[in-house]
Amino acid sequence: MNSTHAMTLALLPEAMLVGAALISVLIAILRPGLRPDIHRWIACIGLVGSLAACALVLLGLRHLPSGIAVSVLNGGLVIDSFAMFIAILACITALGTCLISDSVVRSIPSRTSAFYALVLVSTAAAEAIAAEREITTLFVALAGLLICLVALGALVKTNPRGAVSSFEHLIEGGIGLASVLYGLVLLYGITRSTNLSAVAASAGAAPGAVALGVALVVFGLCGMLGVFPLRQWVGRVAANVPAGAAGFIIATSLIGGGAALARVTVSGLGSQVGVWRWLVPIVAAIALGYSSLSSLRETTVSRLIGQLVSAQAAMLLLGLLAFTNGSRGLPAYGMTAFLAGLGITAIATLASFGVLGMLQAAGISDRIEHARGLAHRSAPAAVLLTISVGTLAGVPPLAGFLSRVLLISGAADTHYGWLAVVAIAATALTVMAAVRLFATLYADAGDEVPFTLGATPLLSRVVAGVACVAGIVLVVLIQPLLAVATAGAGTLR
């Protein structure tokens, strides 16, 4: 395969998305009066096209033992199993968002094309992040993702707080990006290379500067992931941006941030640069403690979901740490647990916000106390919210619980026993937070006036329901997910 063909193949999934976004915007400019549905279906076609391109690459990957389909720009852009896993996950998240976002776009009929274009470009950015091994393009992709997500939040604002929260997201994300940029610049200054793999080789040259650079990058990327210290945006976006869009913003940031962190730490720094392997556990422990404790005192469903996503994101860091061999010299499968957990978290986040969107469309307030007796008023809404929030909180026997067991086992196997203890305690706390919500949904009879979810279109209800049920189905069918995640993780090390 010559380099032009390789480049085409490498960029095909992203090109499908960007192309669809451009078509949508062009149509909006040329024919402004068209039904909003047209833009949604264009976005869906673009996403299906991107998924098809990923499938094409995966077909080729079957015959390559290395798991790397394409490597261009001197190894700076790599289409491997990991990149494909992230790309497919991002596409599924975006597809789900497009299908459940009807109530969101209804409030912005004149900007529908912009909404879907931003969804598509964000997805393309997340896909690109997963394929990057070059620090300049990685930073550009990260910045692109942040800008698209912030713009998306600002675009769908329904009240002044929505705009403020998007601005706060921009500031917090900007600080995170600045931190990543300074860190990467520092690493470039030491290594004189923009390739991540060169950092590890030159780590011994200036250990202090490398440590500072790595710390800055890790802090910044943790912010993207929604983990301490730059995590306030998660709660704000969850509470102030309409649920259909908030779910996408948080889930895609999680996917992009997770992919970038995995590329930088596991693929780039590896075990040769030890600083991240003591920094990440500290961040994870603080984040787990803070998020799980905060989830206990949340008063709104959206912020509770935000805290649970944040706790789950912190839990994912345990998988990153367990990327090496375990205590008995066998692989600890931490990255497998990381990718499986990332998939489960992204889908559960989408499901939770999908259900929240249905409640918002039905005119139900976001406050937990206003969800009293929800099971009386709309049993399907209560059941779906129970399953989706339960999955995020790690309530057994849902998929979130299984994901946590895998992540904790991986960390314990790689001598992070103390972190496993913190993670188990955090799980007990998040389970309690979820139980507190369930008690309100089922136990407290409040306003007895029943309501239906009819305000949300059938397709959106079905998609949100399927995303919720995935929390149960993935318990039974965890093996296929693990198999795919193992293949994805294989190319990172």
């Binding site: 499968y333 099971a375 309530v395 057994p396 895998l406 904790i408 086992s409 496993a420 139980v435 193992t486």
Partner: protein, 496 residues
């Protein structure tokens, strides 16, 4: 393909899924919901009982058969360890399955007394039954933890929604303790799968390679986790609160099955997986049994509330089981399983009778009651049968269990056994004192119009009486089965 155990576990859930879609606007529709739930619990009960008899024949005859039924499918394998959908029913599991499915059947019958939110009630009860049956049959750590965790939310909601005053607090206590218990079980699971090096979470795998420290830590983690569920002193407070504040039907499930699960977990995991520390720290276990026995029996005497009294009685009864777990002899452990079965039935019966008494007298105070035997002789009779089983009267379920626990524990732990026997005297006194206060003595005017048991009460209580008598009379058929199951524990502890 052998799907007996899957049928026992999943049939309640299947019927719960059917019930969830049924309307409940009028009494007729509510009756339909209850009937569907009864069918779910009934399938589980009949399949269990039928195959328990067959299994009993197989296991009782010996011949090296370790388990009557087993299902094993690999769940996932692309990881540090393999997990299996591994279900096993051995000599310990089979009789306990009979106990819990009987109690759940009675609890569903009791739902005819529930008139509010019937659909949610029966769905939650069936979910709890799925979890309880799953815990009893699981032979894989991850599967066990998943089923154990499944208990938390439905049980919490059952206590809170249908409980009386103070149910909110009782439910919070329950959830808090159970969340800790769940966390400890996850920790135990992680220790086993990581440290044993067997690369499997199968409980039947060779775990002799566990390092000493890991084994000790694992033992204590699992012991505390199950001690919480078993309501061992000093982590028994949740049970007293839940027992007294939950509705009678829910309290029946709690006292009849939750405590049993804790003891089962100790036998299945703390003793079998961590035999050496279990043997080394047996003196601590027996010490806790002695303290718990007195704490429970004396605490019971100080109660004025009928169901708090039963709660403390449960603490005392569980201490007898704990004594057997500390003694770790074959005879004592067989006695412990028998006692669990007997205690499950008797405690469920006591709770249902106390619920019926409270319903009729509209008071929970023991001192405010009296002379009910005149108006409700059958109710008094049921109480006395249950009390007799707890006390250990011959030909009832409790007798052989008590006897074997004491006989098996005495050679190794003489003082502890004698002390716990002493507590049984206090327990007996307590049960008779309550019988005297509630049912005998002068007839009180305000209870002159109290009704005796209804047909519904009889439907719930008669199966339990039958079970108590059957386990007492036909104990000879059950003991070889349990002995077969206990063999694995004693073999592991003796280093085999």
């Amino acid at each position: 393909m052998n799907v007996i155990l899957s049928t026992i576990i999943w049939s309640p859930l299947l019927f719960a899924l059917i019930a969830i879609f049924l309307p409940e606007r009028n009494e007729e529709q509510r009756a339909r919901v209850r009937t569907i739930a009864l069918a779910g619990a009934g399938v589980s009960f009949f399949v269990t009982t039928f195959f328990a008899v067959l299994g009993q024949i197989g296991l009782g005859q010996g011949g090296g058969l370790a388990s009557a039924y087993q299902e094993n499918h690999t769940w996932f394998w692309n990881f540090v360890f393999q997990a299996h959908y591994d279900l096993v029913a051995d000599g310990i599991t089979l009789p306990l399955l009979v106990v819990v499915t009987t109690i759940f059947g009675c609890a569903i019958f009791h739902s005819w007394k529930v008139h509010e939110r019937v659909r949610l009630y029966v769905v939650l009860v069936l979910l709890v039954e799925t979890a309880v049956n799953g815990v009893l049959c699981s032979s894989d750590f991850v599967l066990f933890a998943a089923f154990w965790g499944l208990l938390l939310v439905p049980m919490y909601l059952l206590i809170r929604i249908w409980g009386g005053d103070g149910a909110r607090r009782a439910a919070a206590w329950f959830a808090g303790f159970q969340a800790v218990s769940l966390g400890l079980i996850i920790a135990t699971t992680v220790i086993v799968v990581v440290e044993a090096g067997a690369q499997t979470s199968d409980m039947g795998a060779d775990l002799t390679t566990l390092p000493v420290v890991a084994e000790t830590v694992g033992f204590w983690l699992s012991f505390v986790a199950f001690a919480i569920a078993m309501a061992v002193f000093p982590v028994h407070t949740w049970m007293i609160e839940a027992q007294s504040k939950a509705s009678a039907g829910v309290a029946t499930i709690l006292s009849g099955t939750m405590l049993l699960l804790g003891a089962y977990g100790m036998l299945r995991i703390s003793l079998i997986v961590f035999p050496e520390p279990a043997h080394y720290y047996s003196f601590v276990i027996t010490g806790l049994a002695v303290v718990g026995a007195f704490w429970g029996s004396i605490g019971a005497l100080r109660q004025d509330e009928l169901r708090r009294f039963i709660g403390y009685m449960n603490v005392a009864q569980m201490s007898l089981v704990l004594l057997a777990i500390g003694a770790q002899t074959s005879v004592a452990l067989v006695g412990a399983v028998l006692l669990l079965a007997g205690q499950g039935f008797a405690s469920a019966m006591l709770t249902l009778v106390s619920g019926a008494v409270e319903e009729r007298t509209r008071t929970t105070s023991i001192r405010a009651m009296g002379g009910l035997v005149t108006q409700a002789p059958r109710l008094a009779g049921f109480y006395l049968v249950a009390a007799a089983s707890v006390i250990g009267i011959p030909l009832l379920a409790g007798f052989t269990g008590d006897f074997m626990v004491f006989a098996g524990s005495f050679p190794g732990h003489r003082i502890a056994t004698v002390l716990v026997m002493g507590s049984v005297i206090v327990t007996t006194g307590g049960l008779l004192w309550v019988a005297n206060r509630v049912f005998f003595g002068p007839v009180r005017d305000q209870f002159a119009r109290v009704r005796d048991v209804t047909l519904l009460d009889l439907t719930v209580l008669i199966p339990l009486v039958a079970a108590v008598v059957l386990f007492g009379v036909r104990v000879g058929a059950v003991v070889p089965v349990i002995a077969n199951g206990v063999l694995e524990i004693t073999t592991r502890i003796s280093g085999g």
